[in-house]
Subunit: 204 residues, 2 copies
DNA sequence: GTCTATAGTCTGATAGAC
DNA sequence: GTCTATCAGACTATAGAC
């Protein structure tokens, strides 16, 4: 959101190391469950040194949320008004699922934040997120009204894509316990493609 | 899972009060974020009195998880082999969504547990949950092979139902922020019905 | 059965030497 | 910039009076 202050090379590097360690620990244990001790250990730095680079535990968390949201919303931003509607939405689904596969820790960090009532992310949800979703929902609504895709509820279609793709990151433990299988993602992609093809099929 | 020991009326009542308070606090703040002080305050009891009824904070959490899982899996258990396949699955979807609406705290408590890697629920996932899902997935597979519903991946169909319905409880804050709307559930039910009708439509 | 008081531990953050 | 040492507060759990 705001630009970071200018940094030396070593500062930039240590900030990055701390954020990586913070991502690891916050994602696995939630904000409250994460301790500075553990983040410091994971980063290979001392606890006071952490607090030399970030003023507080919360500052690390906020920095992570900010850096995360750009990555997270990129696939939705990429939804192209000029593209072929079904291809665009299916590509969005696949990109979002790929995010869950490649970045499960980011997904869980975000899920933790929302689950706790979004104490730190609320303003971003109310403004940037709502604005982006409204814009893309309007686009999907136009596609639907033009009969290029089946009748859909645009907002809830987007929620469905979020829910279905993030499930494979956030509930990974449960999915693997039930399947007893190493990598659920190949079948997940085939199934999600099948689902959204069915619901997006144009009328007639 | 195990039977509770015999209790006087006042013991049963206080245990219930503590579990209700624990549900409230654990769901909102996660295991680590919940404190005995807060649970005690919410229950209207003193902190040592809490620990008279339960030996530890963890014991309260485990008791909640156990009591929760029966409720949680009831809709899936109710899937009837003798029923009309599409009606059965659609009814399951609606019941599960109704669970999210009526019991969001239970949903969030469970989501927290899974997100943290299911440290306390893992054995139940590996055994009871896997067994139940495998059994119901086999039923759905038979329906699909008989051509009574469209071709589906039974396990991932069940994951989809979980993901889509729990999203409205667990990500409630985000859903409401984006919609700026009081009650998303009416539209959610219409949309989920539409989605699953599309994907379950028999071939030809 | 319920309370007050408190033991013992952990945690976020700071002080100050180098 | 990084460290050791340490503080103040919060936390789970226990002891013991009533």
């Amino acid at each position: 959101m705001t630009d970071a202050p200018p940094q030396t090379r070593i500062q930039a590097r240590n900030r990055a190391i701390i954020l990586e360690a913070g991502l690891e620990v916050f994602a696995a244990r939630g904000f409250r469950g994460a301790t500075l001790d553990r983040i410091a250990q994971s980063a290979g730095l001392s606890k006071p040194n952490l607090l030399y680079y970030f003023p507080s535990k919360e500052a690390i968390h906020v920095a992570l949320l900010e850096q995360l949201l750009d990555l997270w919303l990129a696939p939705l931003r990429a939804l192209d008004p000029e593209g072929e509607p079904r291809q665009e939405i299916l590509r969005y689904v696949r990109r979002k699922l790929e995010m869950s596969r490649a970045h499960p820790r980011e997904s869980r960090l975000f899920a933790n934040e929302i689950l706790q009532g979004a104490p730190r992310a609320r303003p971003v949800l109310d403004r940037e997120l709502k604005q982006l979703v409204d814009e893309k929902a309007a686009l999907i609504a136009r596609w639907s009204e033009a009969g290029r895709i089946g009748p859909v509820d645009p907002h809830h279609l987007i929620f469905s894509i979020w829910a279905l793709t993030q499930h494979y990151a956030d509930f990974d433990v449960q999915v693997r316990a039930v399947l007893g299988e190493a990598d659920p993602f190949a079948r997940a992609e085939a199934w999600l493609t099948r689902m959204f093809e069915a619901v997006l099929a144009p009328p007639g």
